[in-house]
Amino acid sequence: MLTLSDVKKSFGAHEVIKGISFQVEKGESFGLLGPNGAGKSTLISMICGLIPNGEGEIRVNGKLVSKHRKETQQMIGVVPQDIALYPTMSALDNLMFWGKMYGLSGKKAKDRAKEVLEIVGLTERGKDRVETFSGGMKRRINIGAALMHEPQLLIMDEPTVGIDPQSRSHILETVKSLNEQGLTVIYTSHYMEEVEFLCKRIAIIDEGKLLISGTKKDLNNRLAGGIVLKLTVGSLHPSFIEQVKKLNGVEKVIVQQAEEIDVHLQSKMESVADVILLASQSGVVIHNMHLKEANLETLFLQLTGRSLRE
């Protein structure tokens, strides 16, 4: 459905996308994870023909975006991060307008707008002005506008920013259902749990580079440890960290702050007991400790040393 081959993009001397390649299969839900400024929106803008890509190739259904912009755009529905709607017009008017931009005629646009209102669960509010809607309802119409022309590929750029949990859940369920019906979805977010819920394959990008991509299982296998032991200690001796690193079952030790360390363990509780014993022998007082299952956030931290929401 979508192929990116060594895509690069620079604004002036600043290279924002540094040779990214990946593929998205038809009917797949693909997550694009990365912190703010990672290059997600630039990448999406290039895929949907908003800005030209510098080097490399972007193909949608085999067609080069740079050469067949209109055709590829007709296959894609874009849900932008902004609520790009006309607030003083009704939801129905807005949907019809965006439908017409994709070539739908008046009658077809109206019929499709009614179907879309049903999909996003706002049939009763169709004639109301968008400005009277809650943030979540606006987001749903924002998604609806991208569905008007029944696209083959739906690209969603952080579609749940700033909304209540109920609306967020409704949106995620809607997108999951659309994907199950065969719609290919690319979902970008820095909410790791949304991507984990929706997407079968995930790519993590940062500073314009693809750090890792694969299925959730692939990525979990790449984690340095299955369990993270988070310790808050009284005083930290460098020798203690070195000794912890040498323990059996310890993959990695990351010093978060002066008195906080994350010990990545392969698994099993005996490794935890070894760490506690070593702390006791080294005179390191443990104030607090808890165990955490490793997830994508942990993986991102491992790969970049930064949190996803930084």
């Binding site: 902004d82 790009a84 017409k100």
Partner: protein, 382 residues
């Protein structure tokens, strides 16, 4: 083409959904036309009747009086001092202009030579003072020459002045005869206000409409539009057409209503259509060029309003351009409103045809090309 029309019709629908648009399009211009039309209107001779008292009684004072009496907005009538006082007391005149004895010498010595006694609250007092001063200053050079001539020829300055201005009066009489023969009339009263305020409020409306370009850009609507299979050309043409059609509807309704309510005769329909088209192109271009130069709607409103109000003042939208100093009249040639008003004057007052408004048409189209070029070349699409 369907996409261009969809954008255009959607924008028109959006505009007419706002109640404030109707007020701005029709309510405000009609109200202002009525208010200003009453001031400079058909009843102006009743509203602004000024008594003239000639204490000097020389050829010089008579020339000043003659000049004042030619004024088209304010009616000056000659009375003696006593009559004038009575008329002012009974509110039958709104002020007294007295040309004092020794007026020429006083003027030469830069002393006050005429007095103006206005009735309370008369808003046009500064205008009347200015007119009297201008009338005196325009003859000042003859007085100066007559005084020097009188000294050398050992004659009274008055007799030299009479000889000097005799030829001038003959030329003026001949010129007036020619003007009357060619049926040239100044644009007055309600007609003047109708033309002037139609221009101003169409400009304000277009400023508000072209602000939607910035709104759409800020809201991310343009970015989204360009992810759909539409081109920049289609988007811009859609917007442009909507501005042009709304402006056209506004002009049409204002012309219709002013004809019906205020009995304004707008002249040749074909010539009017051409003039309004050229003016709209120019005004839409101005709005788009301002929208392309600013970043926010607030900036567009602030800068746009400043540009419109100041150029309307300069272009003779509120008052006849003939009452402003020569320098300002020359500067006024560089604002489109001057040419639009010239065109409307030709159509309304002189029953002009297309041929008579060719110059204003060409100049307005020239402005349109410049403004549209700036607007389109500098437009920020993301």
């Amino acid at each position: 083409m369907k996409k261009i029309l969809s954008i255009c019709l959607f924008e028109i629908k959006r505009t007419f959904k706002k109640k404030s648009s109707i007020v701005l399009m029709l309510g405000m211009p009609l109200l202002f036309t009525f208010l200003f039309g009453s001031i400079f209107g058909k009843n102006a001779d009743i509203a602004f009747r000024i008594a003239l008292v000639d204490e000097e009684q020389t050829a010089y004072s008579k020339d000043i009086i003659q000049k004042l009496m030619h004024d088209e907005m304010i009616s000056y009538e000659l009375f003696n001092a006593l009559e004038a006082e009575k008329l002012l007391a009974s509110n039958e005149v709104q002020g007294i202009v007295t040309l004092e004895k020794g007026i020429a010498n006083k003027l030469r010595n830069e002393e006050p030579a005429a007095t103006f006694q206005p009735s309370l609250g008369i808003a046009t007092a500064p205008l009347i003072k200015q007119q009297v001063n201008q009338a005196m200053q325009s003859l000042d050079i003859y007085v100066a020459a007559a005084q020097v001539g009188g000294f050398y020829f050992n004659e009274s300055w008055e007799s030299v002045y009479e000889r000097l201005t005799g030829n001038e009066r003959q030329i003026q009489a001949w010129t007036e005869q020619r003007i009357n023969a060619s049926d040239g009339h100044p644009l007055m009263g309600i007609s003047y206000s109708s033309a002037g305020f139609s221009i101003m409020f169409v400009m304000i409306m277009m400023l508000s409409m072209t602000g939607t370009l910035i709104e759409a850009r800020q809201a991310g609507i343009w970015s989204r539009l360009f992810t759909t299979p539409v081109t920049r050309f289609q988007v811009l043409l859609g917007y442009f057409l909507s501005f042009f059609i709304v402006g056209g509807i506004q002009f049409f309704l204002l012309i219709l209503l002013s004809s019906t309510l205020f009995d304004v005769n707008w002249g040749s329909p074909v010539a009017l259509l051409l003039l309004v088209t050229a003016l709209l192109l120019c005004v839409v271009g101005l709005g788009m060029s301002i929208a392309s130069l600013v970043k926010t709607v607030e900036q567009q409103n602030a800068i746009g309003t400043l540009v419109i109000i100041s150029t309307c003042m300069l272009g003779g939208v509120y008052w006849p351009i003939s009452i402003v100093p020569d320098v300002m009249q020359k500067i006024a040639n560089f604002v489109p409103q001057t040419w639009a008003m010239e065109g409307f004057t030709s159509l309304i007052a002189d029953s002009g045809t297309v041929g008579d408004i060719l110059v204003p048409l060409i100049v307005l189209l020239g402005f349109a090309v410049i403004f549209l070029s700036i607007g389109l070349s500098r437009m920020n699409y993301t």
